[in-house]
């Protein structure tokens, strides 16, 4: 199956390893992956801050870049939600087959055991837009549960927002930091080595605090765990 990867501007610019992991993973599962070079940003930051006229050309660019593909895979819950849930309010019709990564693997490919090996203790943060906008449900946890060697520990208060919220982190830094510190405490209480999520924006926020506080807990995008195998982990 031929799929287009919409990596998102944050992953492309700051977290290319996530992109490489998605490509490795999808190719291992039998997909032919295309990365259309015309792609940039979904427009979420501008839209969420109120700048709809700035977001609209980015939405149009997304549609013209990805309109011809049967399936578009997005390794970010909030960017996928931006396209599917909010493009209509910009007067832009989203293309049909836009899937968040775990939706694509579980629903389209029909796979929960992706043949991964990751011998570490992991806790999972569901991220708000995957949870409440896309309603991905247990898909990410089902995928993690099938990873060999992996010990999954539940995160207390998992469904609570980490406090990132895009420009919220800059506009309301005190509340954002307070929310983040509670999330960090939840992560530390699990004793996990790795905090996993399917959205690097939230991980950049929580991970930035985990790193600042020298907790020794690392953050990893779900795709990087699912791409890891016994041969190369």
């Amino acid at each position: 199956m031929r799929v287009a990867l919409f990596l998102t501007c944050v992953n492309d610019t700051l977290f290319p390893e996530t992109g490489k992991a998605v490509v490795r993973l999808l190719e291992r599962l039998g997909c032919e992956v295309d990365f259309p070079a015309g792609q940039t940003c979904c427009g979420q930051m501008h839209f969420n801050t109120g700048y709809r006229d700035d977001a609209r050309p980015m939405a149009r660019r997304f549609v013209s870049t990805f309109g011809g593909y049967e399936a578009v895979v997005v390794p970010s819950g909030s960017c996928a939600a931006m396209v599917r849930e909010w493009y209509p309010s910009l007067g832009v019709t989203p293309p049909g087959g836009v899937f968040e990564l775990t939706e694509f693997i579980v629903d389209v490919l029909g796979v929960t055991d992706v043949g991964a090996y990751f011998p570490h203790t992991v806790t999972y943060h569901p991220t708000c837009h995957s949870l409440r906008s896309l309603k991905v449900g247990s898909r990410p946890l089902d995928l993690l549960a099938s990873v060999r060697g992996l010990t999954l520990v539940p995160l207390g208060g998992a469904e609570e927002c980490c406090g990132f919220g895009g420009t919220f982190a800059l506009k309301n830094p005190a509340v954002s930091a307070a929310m983040c510190s509670d999330k960090v405490r939840g992560v530390l209480d699990t004793g996990a080595e790795v905090l996993c999520a399917a959205d690097n924006s939230c991980l950049m926020h929580i991970g930035g605090a985990l790193s600042r506080q020298r907790t020794g807990v690392r953050v990893m995008h779900l795709a990087e765990i699912l791409a890891a195998t016994e041969e190369a982990s």
Binding site: M58, G163, A174
Partner: protein
Amino acid sequence: MNTFVGMPAFPEASSAAVSDAQLRYNLRKATHTIRAKRAAVVGEQPDWAALRAAGAAIKDRTLRHLDVYLERLETAVTEAGGTVHWAADAAEANRIVTGLVKATGETEVVKVKSMATQEIGLNEALEAAGIRAYETDLAELIVQLGDDLPSHILVPAIHRSRSEIREIFLSKMAAWGRPAPAGLADDPRALAEAARLHLRERFLSAKVGISGANFAVAETGTLVVLESEGNGRMCLTLPETLISVVGIEKIVPTWRDLEVFMQLLPRSSTGERMNPYTSTWTGATEGQTFHLVLLDNGRTSVLADEVGRQALRCIRCSACLNVCPVYERAGGHAYGSVYPGPIGTILTPQLRGMASPLEESLPYASTLCGACYEVCPVAINIPEVLLDLRSKVVAHGHVGQRVAMGAARRVLNSPRWLSVTQRSAGRLRRWTPRRLPGPLSAWSDTRDVPRPPKESFRQWWAANR
């Protein structure tokens, strides 16, 4: 008297609140307790989704034909011996109520817990006219005695702990009436008993009662108040004159419609299956004069907004406050209004207009996590309204932000410029600052800055594929 007038914008006010350890503890404990109670009683209701959809549909239909239902209500109340007054704004409503109280010759009134009268600042207006208003809801009493402001719609003293309440009762009750008993303990039973004794004298002497209403049933002209203490019922029944100030969006057409909300509201608000004290009255009952003041105060302009009007469905249950991670840290006062939390962030700027930096900051007091929408019993899509309000905030002024956003758009909407930016960041990665400049320092104050990679994904793809 303490008021919300002149409060600072949300980021400033909430910044002070997150540093208050006692407040953080009180709020976390209270919101998590009530959150769990709500989840349990909503979870046991198999047709909750259908009830929620019905609640939203009834409110939408009523609001669409509000003119018809308001006149139906007026006719029914008048036929039942009540007098109906129409108030376009807070000043007019206060003028009407003050005039009605003065006409009785009384200088004291007892109050049922009411959001509408707080919204219009009725207590302050009465005080200016030499009339003392006594709050009789336990939590509102705590707020009034403490010269404090409410911080929650349902539990206005949620920011107070038991020991703080004990101190307020001991030091302030005497100035307002019967003093607290000496040696008052801080257990709930003792505190409630002290309040009961204090308030009982008030109920028995009051000649004028003032209330709001949770619902107004248009077909019969019946007003409905839901409460947990029975104190409201005392104020509604004992005084010779009853004045009710009710927002025009509180109407439900029929008793059958009311039934839906009698299921939705208790489960969403107090986490109870059934409401403890429900009072209903139709017009003037025997031995009592009844006045209904129908309040607009910005509601018709909210109704005119196609996206924002869904905020008028609100039945003031507080489920959105109890589940909101921002409210839990910021507390209610930071929202600068009697309507705090998620519903306040969409209601206050719409009712008041973007009158000051506070109102403009409220639509941004959310991470858009969506927890509020999920629990709302009348399905108000709060994130949708927030996003719409944000687009209205940036339509004027905010020049610095507009320039920054314009520049960001030029980079983010061009594969070429995005690539140039990525290459520059990669070359400069060794000098990634620990502290970011300007507004970006808000990020680096508490989080490490991610170091850009040597090559972006698109560079890697171009080189390897």
